[in-house]
Symmetry: C2
Subunit: 582 residues, 2 copies
């Protein structure tokens, strides 16, 4: 149905304006299919737009409130197709932004508007009743099942509108904010790169620096300071931004600002030993060498301790030596922390001193029925095998013999692996085929283990537990997973499909969330990229950049954004990046 709007509009346009056929527009988009125009109406299921007014039909609809329209929230909305919910979405942004392209927006490789899609456009094609409210949720009242929201606008349209929304199910997908680690001056002086507005501000600031440095009254030393761009954080975002900025300066700004181009300098500060440290060693080394060739100054082991007005102070790890670098612009991309609204909610439910909302493996917030949390604002608190080891043993030991044999095992092995995914990770690490291998020394089928042997065999399994990374990929998979649960809520209530409940009786309604890593890209500038794909397959170079283009074009949220991003890339190839200060 994603192609509906495109073909329907084109069809209408050609009918209404025969003269339109004079204009032939040819779009070539890689990676997309073609949907034939059927002339059918896009949806018919949503019969009651306002549930309060049509009591008879709608009063049974469960009210789902979604907070946030990032990857997790939008993925949930896109996947939800059960018309028995009345969905209310609250977010300060009325659009979804394709955040992996934000670094491209900072330097005009791609336009901001090409990577956003209005939430209302995304939801209007659905058979589910969705109401969007542009507001910030400032309080969650879990006791009364209500959220309190406030208009995020600061206009002369009226005061700060406040309103409450009741919910049956609440989905918290509010994302995270940049983490300053309480470093003094960061909030006031540094740029962040979390949202579209941030990217646009960075773009203006880069031009501001070049224009300022071009004024006749600016001294040579001051020029050097103004054109010193500092990026804090050697993660994928920081590295990509540094690379984009370098290309922008070399390919476009050098031609337009010949008098000051030699003063431009980029420094990348990383507290760890290497940049891109979550990637394979080969990628890290390649990136560091490429940046060195490009003249990007990579300083590893540098902790930022203060960002003053015109100077950034770093402390060298080890020696403890403090260095002050005069700068013109700082971009802070050093990690994420919880948003204040989420911190408030965590306090309310007793989850203090945490970096994100803890959920169970079904994404339900611990201690809160009917509240789910996903994306960057949540972490899954994976249950340890050791906590349940006695219960697992007794559940498996059907005949209560005190020992388990192979047959006993085989009946519960799938449930164990599903409920405790760390078991499977451990086996994979040890290159074992299944859990039975863990318990026996030989291929002998007659193995019998008692509880102590069982405990010691599984004792190291929990060491494999890892938090999921805070990426778009995880958030999107969680959103889709949760929507699928909601889609089949009634069905699964009757016929549970999850693993055995070891602590109580019966089965879990749903399978727990399980993340499938599809790989990760790190664009390095100069039409080169690195990619780490599943199975530790590493790809680096120009061809990887083309892979990056194809993957990103195909992953974009709508046909409109796909066409726009691809044409932006084409425009940049031909005309370069625009340096107008708007």
């Amino acid at each position: 149905m994603s192609g509906y709007s495109f073909y329907e509009r084109a069809f209408r346009a050609f009918n209404q304006y025969p003269s339109l056929s004079k204009l032939l527009v040819v779009f070539t988009v890689s990676g997309g299919g073609v949907a034939a125009y059927s002339g059918a109406q896009p949806s018919g299921g949503a019969v009651c737009a306002d549930s309060s007014s049509v009591r008879g039909i709608c009063e049974k609809k469960k009210k789902v409130v979604v907070l946030g329209t990032g990857w997790a929230g939008v993925s949930f909305l896109k996947t939800l197709n059960n018309p028995s919910y009345d969905v209310h979405v609250v977010s300060p942004h009325n659009y979804f932004a394709f955040t992996p392209l934000l670094p491209s927006v900072t330097c005009g490789n791609v336009e901001a508007r090409s990577i956003v899609e209005p939430i209302r456009s995304i939801t209007k094609k659905k058979n589910v009743d969705v109401q969007f409210r542009e507001a910030v949720c400032f309080k969650i009242d879990a006791g009364n099942k209500k959220v309190y929201c406030r208009s995020s606008q600061d206009t002369n349209l009226g005061g700060k509108e406040e309103f409450g929304i009741d919910y049956d199910y609440l989905i918290v997908a509010m994302g995270a904010k940049s983490n300053t680690f309480n470093t003094p001056g960061v909030e006031e002086n540094a740029h962040f790169l979390k949202g579209v507005e941030d990217a646009l501000k960075i773009r203006q600031s880069v031009i501001d620096c070049f224009e300022r440095a071009s004024l006749p009254s600016v001294s040579e030393e001051e020029k050097k300071r103004i054109l010193h761009f500092v990026v804090v954080g050697g993660g994928p975002t920081g590295v990509e931004f540094a690379a984009e900025l370098h290309d922008f300066v070399i390919e476009d700004l050098s031609n337009l600002y010949p008098a000051v181009k030699d003063n431009a300098k980029i420094t990348l500060l990383e507290a760890g030993d290497h940049i891109l440290n979550m990637f394979d060693k080969r990628i890290t080394t390649f990136a560091e060498e490429k940046f060195q060739r490009d003249g990007i100054n990579v300083k590893t082991g540098s902790m930022v301790i203060k960002v003053a007005d015109k100077e950034i102070s770093t402390k060298v790890r080890g020696s403890g030596q403090v260095e002050n670098l005069p700068y013109g612009m700082v971009v802070w991309s050093a990690g994420i922390g919880p948003r204040p609204e989420v911190v408030d909610f965590m306090k309310q439910i007793g989850q203090t001193n945490r970096r994100a909302l803890a959920t169970d493996e079904w994404l339900r917030v611990e201690g809160c029925d009917d509240i789910y949390a996903l994306g960057d604002c949540a972490t899954i608190n994976q249950r340890r095998v050791m906590e349940d080891i006695a219960l697992i043993f007794s559940k498996a030991d059907k005949n209560k013999s005190g020992t388990l044999n192979i047959k006993d095992f085989q009946e519960v092995v799938d449930d164990i692996c599903e409920r405790y995914p760390q078991v499977e990770l451990y086996l994979k690490k040890k290159q074992m085929k299944n859990i039975v291998d863990l318990l026996k020394d030989s291929k002998d089928q007659s193995v019998e283990v008692d509880i102590e042997t069982f405990k010691s065999a599984l004792s190291e399994v929990d060491s494999q537990m890892k938090n999921l990374p805070a990426t778009a990929q995880v958030a999107a998979q969680q959103g889709a997973y949760l929507a699928n649960c909601f889609n089949r809520m009634e069905e699964c209530e009757k016929y549970p499909e999850g693993p055995l409940r070891f602590r109580t009786v019966g089965r879990h309604r749903f399978r727990p969330f399980s993340y499938k890593h599809l790989g990760q890209f790190a664009p390095l500038g100069g039409e080169q990229a690195a990619a780490q794909l599943p199975g530790d397959w590493v790809s680096i170079g120009h061809s990887t950049q083309w892979l990056w283009y194809s993957v990103y074009a195909s992953k974009l949220v709508s046909w409109r954004t796909r066409v726009l991003v691809v044409s932006d890339w084409g425009r940049r190839f031909i005309f370069g990046r625009d340096s107008s200060r708007i």
Copy 2:
């Protein structure tokens, strides 16, 4: 040379990245020619980038300072091709904006970035040495031939940088600002539509209104207020904006905001009797009828007397009745006035109580040698025939006989018509062929006139003097005219090509500026437009809209903007306008 960058870049790109040939981009642009790629360097004339450092070669270069990068300034820069000038451009914007498309930007028909071109891109292809400074000129010191400028940035890059620039010639092309006629509350509460930033703010505000009206706590009455859009001024800009907004609401926002769409209302306030009153009566009538059919509320004879926070007050002309209209957003497009910097300069040179800088017919500011003013910040003070009538007579009366005969006349008639263009306008109005017809009753060649007859024959001629309209067309022609004068300054000093100097001796160096009106468009929405072309030819309807598309596409400043605007139009046809609030 305008196609240079396009082909040169494409050529380089194909050489550097053979894999690029995989991507086939087909652009079809109407109205543009094709320049073959020659491989030649774009320029070679600019030998000294910094005139102070290479004294030997450059000290003879005359320093031209251009204030402003609107139509007049950029047209001057584009036409100037004499490398003997050292040009310094000062403007708070580092880009040129194609302002006739601003109303299209307000509703997302065209993106802001598609209608701007960096000044540095425009000037770098030239053989003239051009330095650009992003700053505001806050003082012109005509006595010392110096301008004082201040950085327009408000960033943490440093304090407000100030600097002075000496000049040999100063070109004031700073444009105008919106005129509030001192109406209370306009500055604080209304939007203007003069620059790209204004258009972007309006676009955000329209979405803000729709989002705010969609909040559940907003009453029905408040919804009506918030979605009441008021446009003040029935000139081409106001009318085009109202039409664009109507299309945006009907074609896009109605689908996305079904719950509030019926509350949306557009009111167009005009103090005069008709909207578009500078156009032919047929166009005015068509526009008024179309707006009535569209449901746009046109209120003529309505003077705005106050714009409060949420209410706009109007007084009906004639009855004097005051009406208060609750509104959500006001766009003020009621005329232009001088900028404060220009007002200061006018005071300095004794031109007080004027709406613009007065220049002579050669665009030179009255009373200031070497300062020129053009575009919206200037008006040409056309000299009256009656002021010079005795001198004209005596110049024509070569033999000092006290009377003029036909032969005497024929020698000066071209000079008179060139120096006093109102003569020609008067003749045209009276349907006479030339000035001789004005003096005689019959075709008799023996006519002889004395000074009194001469005076009375020409007495009504000055009534034909009119100020030029404050349009892009006038500004662009003035810029090109002045650049041509500068290009041939030395040559014309030796061989003056202007008309006779009636008050002194010899000839003027240049022909005076003469405006050629090429017609004017008024887009009316719904893919319809009106056009008034030279010779009072009027065209209205869908075909005129296509004419508008072709003319505007061909008039755009660069190949880049041309491609972008045309693809924006295509995008809007297919996908509609984006309603993301960024």
